[in-house]
Amino acid sequence: MATIRIDQQEYTVRDGDNLLQTCLSLGLDLPYFCWHPAMGSIGACRQCAVLQYQNEEDQRGRLVMGCMTPVSDGAIFSLQGDKAQRFRKTIVESLMLNHPHDCPVCAEGGECHLQDMTVMTGHRDRSYRGRKNTHRNQYLGPLIHHEMNRCITCYRCTRYYRDYAGGTDLAAMAAHDHIYFGRHEDGVLESEFAGNLVEVCPTGVFTDRQLVHQYTRKWDLQSAPSVCTACAVGCNIVVGERYGKVKRVHNRFNAEVNGYFLCDRGRFGAGFVNLESRLEFPALRRPDGRYDALDHHRALEHALRAMEAEKVAAVGSPRASVEANHLLRLLVGNARFYPGWSRGEQGAAIRAMELLRDTEATVPDLAQIETADAVLILGEDVTNTSPRVALSLRQAVRNRARDMAGELRLLPWQDAAIRNLAQDTRNPLHIAAVSNTRLDDVAASHTCLAPPDIARLGAAVLEELLPGEGQHFGDPTVDALAQQIARDLRQAKRPLIIAGAGYGNTTIMEMAAELAAALCHGGCEAMLSLCQGEANSMGLALLTGTGGARVHRLEDMIVQGDIDTLLVLENDVERRCSRRGFKLLRKHVKTLITLDSLDTATTSLSDLVLPTASFAESEGTLVNHAGRAQRYFPAFPPANERRPAWFWLLALAHERGIEATSRLHQFDEITRHCAASIPALAGITEAAPRSQFRAHGLRVPRQTHRYSGRTAMRAALSVHEPKQPQDEETPLAFSMEGSQRDTPGALLPYFWSPGWNSNQSLHRYQKAVGEPLRGGTAGSRLLYRQGHATLERAAMPGAFEPRENQWYLVPRHAIFGSDELSALSPPLRELTHPAWLEITPAAAQALQVIDGDGLIIENERLRGYRLEVRINPSLVAGCAAYSAGHAGTFGLLPGEWVTLQKDPDWQRREPAVIASDRGGVA
């Protein structure tokens, strides 16, 4: 600790921080632009100038940059000093020489860091009378809008995009007064994390393109704390609503999970909530196949009548909340509850849960992943399955740079110096996958192997760590690599093994778990992370448990038939079955009742559809891939007869007289009941405060205190303002009243502080800059180290042997398209492609096909699969990779052998016309 003096006031502060972050942590206002808590200082913008005095006698002081000045004991500073204030005011004025002052039409207005800093410095009247520079804007894709004239050249965008996120297609062009931040030509930004530019840019150069088109100011948004449903990582988000539509998704800081950044799938993937095709009323199928809208009483009557049948079964869902799945299981009984995974997914999800539950290693959150000093990824394309993990891995490989800096006594925030020092020195990251991955550029090694061989590589590394039965890979190059990997892992203090359900191969995950156990045994703090499929895969696996015989497979159940009434909860059975299985669904089920927020193939077959509220309109608990239970809250009430799934199910359970539910009336009670009846889920009640929580005697307001136009919003319908909806289920209110200061992290609906309208106000909610939220970190960890530490050595898996004229199917995930919900979001739909099959150039030659041709995929189980060819030179020989989660590949199973032949009737698509190819001409 150091004692410093700022403007005659003494403070005890942490040694080695820079003065800017110290001032912000102390709650003092010091303006800045280029510094970012996650990216450190470079001293580019000169905005955080303060006066530093040599000693007591020094009356003049000298100007220093706050972000570049370490605090040390006895230092004397002044923020208020005349010279410093004048300097800062002039800097803002000079940065804004070319700024267009177009705030009224700018999507950043009202939450603009440049506006805040301008007000903070007191700059008001511009003295520059010359012409302003005018730039040509670029088309950067459907996600990000570019408005270069607003730039104040703080360089945050390129520092984030290139240095932090590893993107290569955004650069600072030109020099002097005509600097330009953009691509070398128009086109979609390539980085999967480009959306963070919206929050990183201190002004309106990079804005959310969707928001620009349907604009609402931050102060007019009604927001709620939520959890991203686009993958199993569970990043914390803020969902902002106006006029019954989700307007935008912003990052919600969680020190242990997503920190300051999201991936683009999460940020832009919530658009499905606004789809016009979503049902607003229960729908009853008429004999002619059309649907009648019902009110909820009659809908429930119909459902109850159907449930009086003898054989009633239900299908849960890995994208539905723990509570909804729990109620559904109570409703139909344990024996008739099917978790709702496909044949391939179920084994992987349950096994992943078991491995993580039983491992001796740490199951890391993203923040812990960033501390790893050696990483081995065994058969998981993290950028496409759990995208945000990839961004954390890019930070992990820089730990060596920070160590090098530490040796030279550089401070961790001295970003330029550290990058200069380390250059390309990185911690070892080894990747084994079926083809190239987006992390290869920072990897020490990247090997393309078929999934069974990836497991064998794991076994060979294990052999190096714990010499045993001489299980070598057999190929000298791979064995040498295994030695190298083992050496890197052994030398690490915090080695991390990543695997996952991506290839549907449980042996790889088991190998990863054994490696982690062996490393723990070796005495280091090893970590094991297993990526999973969907937002609540882990929650559903914990709920289902290892139940063995009770866990039937969805498809087998349908094929065997003999079901009178089937309830499907937020699940599209088509995605989980083969074509044959899905066809039999209608035939083998007498009455099909679906509860879903989307219009899917399954709802279109159903006899009765109960429209459920999406994650943005309801509450629920999800368990992420690391076993962290997190609660999402509704940002707005569901329209018309949409209800949360738990609400429908509870009503049905009450009417059915299910004993266990008789005392459950509110959402919290379901959560508590679930926690009490399933030991593995006991911790879910801690995910967020209960609905009785009050801050300063009031609920936490979802609306800012400047929320405007509540009457005007509905004035076209009626001038009478209706009573605000009441929220009995959560501690939040659809109101402006109340305070959100000091509320728990799980309940923060937005970040705002006087003088800090932008998301930079976050530091006012943190214990200190970059540290956890003062109200506590959201979520509760369900997995504690139970450490069996049994080092069972699995037998060496069999080697992959390519077959003549047969191909081994491997799923290939796409960040945009593989996830059911986000793929429906309009901006992301522009970036998705129709289903495809990747094959090697050699296979393409043998099959006489080129890119864009069609292939027929067959084996004894599969008929009628036709997919577009994509030639991938990096793919392992003998494998064919299908686009997972895309319509057209449902029912294909990982690890199946198939024959391929050219489809003579295939109609080639026109060369893909996506907006970027049109050069941004709408």
């Binding site: 290569t168 297609d169 955004l170 650069a171 020099a175 070398h184």
Partner: protein, 168 residues
């Protein structure tokens, strides 16, 4: 300068590649030769087109954006076509004191172009430059590769009063 034109617009010529590879050989990283590579291509083609830029970036294992950042940083790497000769007219203090403004006006009138423009016949592009390092012989200008010192109005007339030149 009399290289045969490369067969493909996108590709770099053999001669360009050889010269770039020679520079790469001196560098610890391929991207270290970025500036030299840009200069080499500009020497051969007069300017660096988007296609050339992409080809160079590819050859240096850099992204096009990164290389464009470098290319556009330097005023004398031309990212747009220029005339056969580039006139760099110094406008910094010494030259200005000794009448560079008059010369500027004279050249503008003669060639009918302003700063940043190319004469209609494609012969000249006029650009201002901050210093050519010959202040003792001010005013100075560079026409193509030739440095002209102590330039007078007569000298300008002599240089640009050729048959076919405007107002000749």
């Amino acid at each position: 300068m009399n290289e045969p034109a490369p067969s493909l617009i996108n590709a770099l010529s053999e001669a360009e590649l050889a010269a770039i590879d020679a520079e790469i050989a001196h560098m610890p990283q391929r991207s270290g030769a970025a500036i030299d590579a840009l200069k080499i291509v500009q020497e051969h083609r007069g300017w660096v087109s988007d296609a050339s830029l992409a080809a160079i970036a590819d050859h240096l294992h850099m992204s096009a954006a990164e290389l464009d950042g470098i290319a556009t940083f330097y005023n004398l790497i031309f990212r747009r076509p220029v005339g056969r000769k580039v006139i760099l007219l110094c406008n910094s203090v010494s030259c200005w004191m000794l009448g560079s403004d008059c010369l500027t006006q004279q050249i503008r009138d003669r060639l009918q172009i302003d700063f940043g423009e190319t004469s209609k016949d494609g012969e000249y592009t006029l650009l201002p430059v901050t210093c050519l390092g010959a202040c003792d012989k001010a005013p100075v200008m560079l026409v193509g590769d030739d440095l002209h010192e102590s330039v007078t109005e007569d000298r300008v007339r002599e240089l640009f009063d050729q048959p076919g030149a405007p107002n000749g």
